[in-house]
Structure formats: C-alpha cells, structure tokens
Symmetry: C2
Subunit: 601 residues, 2 copies
C-alpha cells in the first residue's frame, strides 16, 4: 500500500480535465485562487491524510472511545490529527475570508476531504460535521452567534454536532419530544446571543456528541416550543432549531450529560452518544432562526452532510479498490486457465478473470461514486457563480434531484465494492491483519445515517420527482442528451451512448407511468429499487461523460486512459442492464411485499 489513498492522476483528471473547475477562478468570488492554490491544498491534504490520519486507523478501531464518570475520551492521536488539520487551515477551507476562511470552492474542499475520509473516515467525520454546522450558523445566525459559535468552529478550536434523532424518534422527526421553554430564569429572554431557552430532552446517535478533543462543542438541536396549553405542536412544522453549547460563556458546563456511548460495528473513532439535555433544569440554548423553521434550516446542514456521507462511502470504496489491487498484484496463487501447467510458477492473482472482474467492478463503482460527489459539489459552486436567477434555480433543482443519489448510491455500491475487496484477499481479507474488513465495517453505517436508503428513495421519487410531476427530472434531460450527443460522435463510444440513451428513456417512461397512475402511495412502494436504478443511470451518464473527455486526450497516460474507458464500458455493458428488472417492478407497481399481511411473515 502506497501512502496515497487516492490516485493523484484521478483527482487531477476529475477536477481539471473533466469538470474544468479552474474556470471558477474567473468569477470574482474565487478570483484570489488559481489552479496552483487548489493543487497546494490537495497536496497538503494528501500528505496530512497519510501522515496524521491513516496512522491511527486501526488503533482507533481497537481502542474505542470510553465513557467514565460522565467524561468521554478518545485516543490522543485523534486530537493531534485534528489539531494539525486545524493548523493547516482546513476547517476554514470552504468559508469566505470574512469568516476567517480560505474561500475555496466546495469542489476543492470536497476533493480535499476525500483524502481524509479514505485515510481515516472516523477522524475525518469531526471536521466534516463541524464545517456543515458552521455553514448553517453563518447562513442563518446573527452576527453575535456567528462570532461566538461559528468562528471557533471555522478555526477548528471547537467542534460541532447535529442533534436530530431521539430514542423514540429516529427517522421520524415529527415525533421529536425535546422541548424548549423561553428562559425566564436568571437572565433576559433576549440574550445578546439570541432568544434564550431552556432545552430538555434526550438525543440519540449524536456523532461527536462528547469527547475530549476540544474544550467546547456546539450542538445544533431540534426541539419544539410548547404552546400555551403546554403541549408540543405536532408534525415537523413545529420544530425549531437551537444552538446549545457544551460550555457556557462564563466557563461553566451547560446542562448536558452523556447518558451512554454506542458501541458500533465500525467507524469507532467517531464517538456516538446518547445525550441528556436539561436533567438539571434545562440546558441553555439560543434559538437559531424563527420558531417553526428548525427543520428547514437543519436541512441545509443535512443536505451537505448527505453529500459528505456519499463522499465517505466513495472514499472507502477507493481505498478498498486500491488495497485489493495492490494485493492482487503481489499475491501469487495458481495459474490462469490458459497456463495450467502445474510445474510452472504460480502467477499473481490479478491474472485470474474473476479477480479482474472484481477489480473492474470496484473501479467502476468507486471512481463512479467519487465523480458523482465531485460533480454534485461542483454544482454547489456553479449555483453560487450562476449568471442569473434562472440558471441558479436550474442548478439548484439539479442538485436537489441528485442529493439523495449522491448520498445513497455510493453507500450502496461503495459497500458492494468493499465486499469485493475482502473477497479478493481471500481468507486474509477476513482477518484484521489487513484493512479491508475494517473498511467494510466502517462503511456499513453509510446506508443508515443521515437518512436511510429507504428514506432517500422516498425523497427522490416522491419529493423530488413525482411532487413536481417530473419537472426537476426533466432538468437532467439536456445534460444527459449533451453527453449522448458528444459520445455519439466518437465511434468507440457510440454503442455505449445508445445504451445510455435507452436507459434514460426507460427511466422517463417509468416516471410517466407513475404520474399517469397518480397513486403516490403505491408508487413509492418500490422507491428503493427506483433509487438504485436511477443512480445507475446517473453514474452511467457520468462515466460516459468522462469517457468523452478522455477519449481524445492524447497527452494523458495511455494505461490511465484505457482504465477509464474500460470502466465506462464495464459500467454500461455489465451494470446498466441491471436496471431493467428493477424498473420493471416499479412500473408494474409490484405490490407483493407492500400488501403482505403482517402475520404472514
């Protein structure tokens, strides 16, 4: 295993040859940057990820966070790695200079983060959550809230969390029972940090919920403000967002206690806590935004976190691919079918067709997933620099459509890639002497957290596609058509373009069928299958688009070019046909599962 978890050629190809992100520097917002400043950040990230994050990957799995006497501790290497990350200015990477940031595009911040997630996803999760938290504060907070809570996060001296789930309300946020009462205690309701409340309730699955990495932690907490009758308003419309710091301005601890640590399958370096707010009378919290706007605001953080969940899954897929590739090149075992003479020396297992298949599938999944994430992150930047509101709305709609795919597709197929990485290692892959079993365990959370696969399916098919009767979906059409058109002009890619075009037509036909049937309940019965199939079409499109870019590039390394073209061909020839039976089930409104009587299980 080399020191680089990502191939630098990939990163250069994605960012510059394919996406052309250097064009962003032509916009005033990014005018201080250049390809050189981008590359400096990426090289720094690669080095720091390798030297400071990868080095405690296994130790953090073996030595889990501990809770003793109400205090959560993690191994010191995590604290040191994050201090180095802060010192390098990386917490600040994507924030504007006015907030102490480096003013980098999201797509560069995302490519930087890919290195850290590949090296050590559990340690990387702290800055990922903290940046998403700070972004919400910067966007919706008052000047005092930004100054007090966001700037230390951007500096990396304080970490942040998102507190949504509760023991009785995991995915069902409408059922949040944490309550916030206007504070009529020892201070004014209108504190300088905003309207002040006392928060009481229990929050479950809080990543980074407590630790000894930084002195303070900024929790963003969903709660409900009781009505005059003392009852909590029903539904998600009654949810408000509060800033609840672990430490108060006067240096005392806020009324938050750690009720327990979850002991996880993987991803262990990230503490995961059950937090009790307000057991001593009420934790002090400052309202962020207006009452009832909590979920809408939180979704800004959630959408960013969803893309980074996809990134983490994709980065782990890349790592598993590259580690199993190294193994397959080194491990001698047997002989390929064409050279069966048992007296001849054993050959590297990369020569076996089935090992090649598992490597190429991993390459197609892993690199496809990263390109999906970088494309999505680039949309965030393109939205910002859009020339007019129509263009901005068009890009925002496309990003909204792709967000559930960016979260779920890498989670599903990154895990499938990691499964192949284990399989290529044979028995060794099942031992803790190699990394791949941990990579799989670390990755297994991704289809669950920040909205399960099932919830993303409903988001995509219900909220993003059927609700506006296919309008957002139609916005993707011209993008795919442009790629198909470019690819059709290249003889080697023409057949693949035809297949993609057909697949896109199949997706549209299914959606039209569902719109015509106008039975959203039943349409969503098979939303998960639709999500997987739709993701395949999106990734096939991105692969073909990259193939059109690389096909004519004579300067690029020949083997690198061949690898990209093969992965594209594999994805479209071998993977894309899998959507047909999946879409068939959706279009037929197959109800064999949905109408199953409960007692028949």
């Amino acid at each position: 295993m080399g020191s680089a978890f990502l191939d630098p050629r990939d990163v250069q190809f994605w960012l510059y040859d394919w996406l052309g992100v250097d064009a962003l520097t032509g916009h005033p917002v990014y005018a201080d940057h250049s390809r050189e400043t981008f590359d400096a950040i990426l090289e720094l990230s690669a080095r720091l990820a390798s030297d400071k994050f990868a080095t405690h990957y296994k130790k953090a799995d073996r030595v889990e966070p501990a809770l003793q006497d109400g205090i959560v501790t993690v191994i010191p290497e995590i604290k040191q790695a994050l201090a180095d990350y802060a010192e390098a200015g990386l917490f600040a990477a994507s924030f504007d200079p006015e907030h102490g940031g480096l003013g980098l595009p999201h797509v560069i911040d995302t490519a930087s983060m890919a290195h850290f997630m590949a090296a050590n996803i559990a340690t990387a999760a702290y800055p990922m959550l903290t940046a998403a938290n700070a972004r919400v504060l910067v966007k919706f907070g008052t000047a005092a809230q930004i100054e007090t809570f966001a700037l230390p996060e951007i500096a990396g001296t304080t970490l942040g969390t998102m507190c949504l789930s509760e023991p009785q309300a995991g995915s069902s946020l409408a059922d949040v029972m944490t309550r916030a009462m206007p504070d009529s205690g020892d201070a004014h309701f209108d504190d300088e940090l905003g309207p002040r409340y006392r928060v009481t309730g229990n929050k479950m699955w809080i990543s980074g919920g407590d630790h000894d990495i930084t002195g303070n932690i900024i929790h963003l907490v969903l709660a409900k403000i009781p009505g005059d009758d003392g009852k909590l308003p029903p539904g998600t419309g009654g949810i408000t967002l509060f800033i609840v710091p672990k430490m108060l301005a006067d240096g005392t601890r806020n009324d938050i206690s750690v009720a327990g640590l979850n002991h996880k399958m993987g991803y262990r370096g990230t503490t995961n806590c059950l937090l009790n707010f307000g057991e001593g009378g009420g934790a002090i919290g400052y309202r962020l935004g207006a009452p009832g706007q909590g979920l809408a605001i939180m979704f800004h953080m959630m959408n960013e976190a969803r893309i980074f969940v996809g990134l983490g899954a994709a980065a782990l897929a890349i790592r598993g691919y590259r580690q199993s590739l190294d193994y397959a090149r080194e491990r001698l075992q047997g002989r390929p079918a064409a050279a069966k003479d048992p007296a001849s020396p054993q050959r590297p297992i990369i020569e076996h067709a089935d090992v090649k298949r598992m490597l190429l599938a991993q390459k197609a999944y892993a690199e496809g997933a990263v390109s999906l994430i970088l494309y999505s992150a680039h949309l965030m930047d393109r939205e910002r620099v859009a020339g007019d509101e129509i263009e901005r709305a068009r890009i925002a709609s496309l990003l909204g459509l792709l967000t559930p795919v960016a979260k779920s597709w890498p989670s599903e197929f990154g895990l499938a890639a990691n499964d192949f990485a284990i399989q290529i290692h044979g028995g060794y892959g099942y031992t803790r002497d190699f990394d791949v079993e941990q990579i799989y365990r670390d990755n297994r959370i991704n289809p669950i957290h920040e909205g399960t696969h099932g919830i993303q399916g409903i988001d995509l098919l219900g909220r993003k596609i059927l609700r506006d009767k296919g309008a957002s979906l139609a916005g993707l059409g011209p993008e795919i058509a442009e790629t198909v058109s470019k690819a059709s002009a290249i003889e080697d890619l023409r057949g693949l373009a035809t297949r993609l075009n057909l697949a896109w037509a199949q997706v549209n036909a299914v959606v039209e069928t569902l719109i015509t049937l106008n039975d959203p309940g039943r349409a969503l019965d098979n939303a998960s299958g639709f999500l997987s199939a739709f993701g395949h079409v999106v990734v096939a499109w991105l692969w073909l688009d990259q193939a059109t870019t690389i096909h004519g590039d004579a300067e690029i390394n020949r083997a690198f070019r061949e690898g990209k073209l093969r992965a594209c061909r594999y994805f479209i020839e071998v993977e894309l046909p899998k959507i047909e039976p999946q879409l068939g089930i959706v279009a037929a409104l197959n109800d064999v599962a949905a109408t199953m009587p409960e007692e028949a299980f």
Copy 2:
C-alpha cells in the same frame, strides 16, 4: 427474540409436507427410525441449541481464542456445549450403528445442525468438521484407523480438522508443499494404523486446528510424497492424504505446533490456526487410502463441508430474518404513507412498505436457502436408498451439479439477507447491543472458505456443466418440468410456472451457446455471474415446488401458507428477472474485464 432460531413449522413443512422424508423409513437402512424418532432429535436440537449454544454467542465473539506458550484456549462455554452435544449423541447422528451412530438420514442430521448453526455457528463448526472428517475415515480407512480415529470423533470425545491450505497455496492445491516421507525411524513403515510417514510443512486457515476442548485432534492432511529424486510431484495428482493426530497412541504429543492464530472479522469462537508440522523432525502420519488419491478422498469431506457451509449461511440468514422481524414488529417509528397524521401514535415499522420489502426479501432468501440445503441433503439419502444403479447415478449427478450452488447461493444471498436485517434495525443494527452486526460478520466468511465463490462458479460451469456437454444439467430438466407441470395446473401459480419455465429455457440456451462456441477459457470468464443466476433459477424452482405443495393444504395454518406463497411470488416476480442481464453477459462472452490490461487498473 424467542428461544427458537428456526420456526418449527418451517422444519416440519420442509421435511414432511414438502420432501416427504418419512418415506426413507420404508427402506431397511432407516427401518429403525420413524417420524417420532426424527422429531425427538429435532426437538432436542432446538432445545440444546437454545440453552447451550446461543447463550455464549456474544461472549465467544468478545473473548477470542488465545494462544499462549503454544497452547490455544477457548472460553469454557464452548467445551461445555460440545460435551452436552456429545452426550446427546449428536456427533453420532448420521453414522451407522456399527460405528456407534444413530443411523439417521443426512437430511435429519442437517436439519438438526441448522438449529445449532443458527444459534452459534462458530461453536457448531467443531462438530460439523468432525463429522465430515469421521465420514472420510469410515469410508476410506482400515478397521484399525476407524477404531482408533473415527470412533472417538463419532463419540464426540475427539474433534477433527481438514488441513488443505498452505501459506503459499490457498486455493491452489496443486502447489501444496507439505511433504510426507516413509517413516524409517523407530518403528516399522507398516504400523498397525497403516503405512507410517513423517510429515513436514505448514498448514494455514485450519479451523479447529488447536484448542483445549478435547484432548486429541485428528488432522486430515494433504501432502506429497517425494519421488526418488527428492522432488515433489507437480499438480494435484501427486497429493496423498494422511491422518495426523495431535496426540500419539503412547500419550505423547505429535510433532505439530501452533505458529499463530488468525484474528477474524467474525466466526471467532472457531479457532483458526497456522499449524507447523514436523519442525522437530516430522509429525507422524498414517496414510489414508492410496498414494496420489488424496484429493479425490478429501473431496468427499469437502463436498459434505460445502453443503454445510451453505447450511451455515442459510441458518444465519434465518436468524437475521427472525430477529429483524421481531424488531420490526416492536419498534414504533413514524407512520405509513396512508396514515400521515402526525398527531396519531407512531406505528410499528413493519407497516412501512420498504421494511416489508426487506423482510420479504430475507424470507425468500433465507427459507429458499435452507430448502436448497435440505433438498441437497435429502439427495444424499436418496442416493443411498436408490433402487438401482441408474437411479443412484442420476441422483449423484444431480447432487454434484447442485453442490456448488448449495455452497455459494446461500453464502451470497444469506449475506444479502443479513445486510437487510442490519438495515431494518437502523442505527441499532450497527451497534453490538443487537446481534445482527455479528451475524453479518460471522456469515462473511462463507463466500470465502471451502472454495471461494469464484471457484464454485468454475466448478459449476466448467466441471459440472461444460465438461460433460450439458449432460448433468439435462438431468435437472425433468425435475423442473415436473414442478412446472404441477404448478401450471393451479391457477394461482400458472403465471409463476411460466416464468420459471422461461428462465430454465434461458439457462439452457446460454449453455448451448457456450457448448457451440467451444471456448472453455472465455466461457469461464463470467462463471461467477452464471453461478448466481443459475442459483436463482434453482431456488425459484424449489420455491415453486413448495408452493405447489402448500397451495392445496387446507389444514396448514392460513398465515403460514400465505407467507410461503408470497415468498414464492416475490422470488419469481422480483428476483428471478435479475438473471436476464447476468445471463446476457455470459452468453455474449463479455470480455471487458477479462481482457483488461493489468496496468490499466
């Protein structure tokens, strides 16, 4: 979670209603048995599995086997459980009374073992391996070898292993380097226990290779006898099998040392060792069978072990299904689409369509997998009681064809089922507070050991199908045709029968294409995909066959019947169509992966 890991109604249905195994008692071999003696064994197994095996499931994962000063120790609960298992006579279940056995059919022994594997697969692996080892000794050993080595195994006072892999030769047995020299030392070459050799070499991945459960361990070791030139014969034809006991008859230790323990992702209660034979001059081993016959003999043990690997994967699938079903019935979360009033109480998650989908998929995979294994085990009994040699050869051919499927299909789809079991539990499924993450980890070895998925694919498509130009495959045709014919006579099943018939025709068309092309090298490039698709057709057939059995059964519990019919419908409507793109790749001899230049990865 109730105490039963298998639903007793399932076991009764499979054995009696569907397979009609009680008919075996009409044959002299099983004349001492009856449905009552079968049921007594199954009830005993259910109770013992629950009371003695399940109880240390988590502890054996947490407290791994330890190696200190050359001694391997396991938690005492494993020793106690196996002592109880031995006392109940279960090591002896499937052996003939002349060898101290209970003379039960394989299918009953297999159903018994399913309970133990569901309850604690790592503890159950010891008797599974021991019985397979003893079966080889009984079949190929001399009277003295049987007396000395097999009978203690059948009594459960000694455990057994299979020693094939070596560090430099995992799947490639042709490259075995362990050597056996005729013993010209302190004893005659012709010991009463057989021709005596000195064995030297290193054996890797030895399950149960050492432990403190029993005083002795019987290793069956593949080795090569050097030629006159001192060189080992190349290829698998030069392999011979040796009985190498841990303890010698005089009570001294044989020359075998434990060089290391593998620390695994799961399945931890089964010790997994690197054994060094003969570091002190040569471990004493007794030849079993003739020189050069080692692999052929070992394959009797291997084929039995392969079916039991499939059983283990299937049993873990059942356990994950039932545990996630219990969870889905109890866990309140959100409301189904049709009842979205947020003021209404939350509903059990089993009411969500996507949870139902994941439950029904698990049921179809898990119960389909167990039925595949029981069908295969019953073939072993049917082979024994066959009326004539033609019938016996026909059944043996069918069993040979199904063995790679019985090993691989449950391993692949049992794991997919366990993935759904985790997903249904949400965040809880990712914690060690519930069992499902361990179930997944325990199950992940099954696509690797006793021949990887890739090797099973080559065995199925190459050795079992193409080598005899489809003759074995043709033997399955009448079985499927009979099921299709029965199902076609039932209106509710007619459509499903048509689909199965079509799928079977597709399989045959692909095989004909491959035979016509006559390019075995390229044909095998996509053997893994063929294996998965072929397994789906086999399981669809078994589901439809069970549906025809249960459809007309008015006495059977209504919900139970509905569950079976739904699972059949799900499997044929939702799963079976997935074979089309897979078979398409095989038939097209798609070479995108196989011809990928190595440097392009």
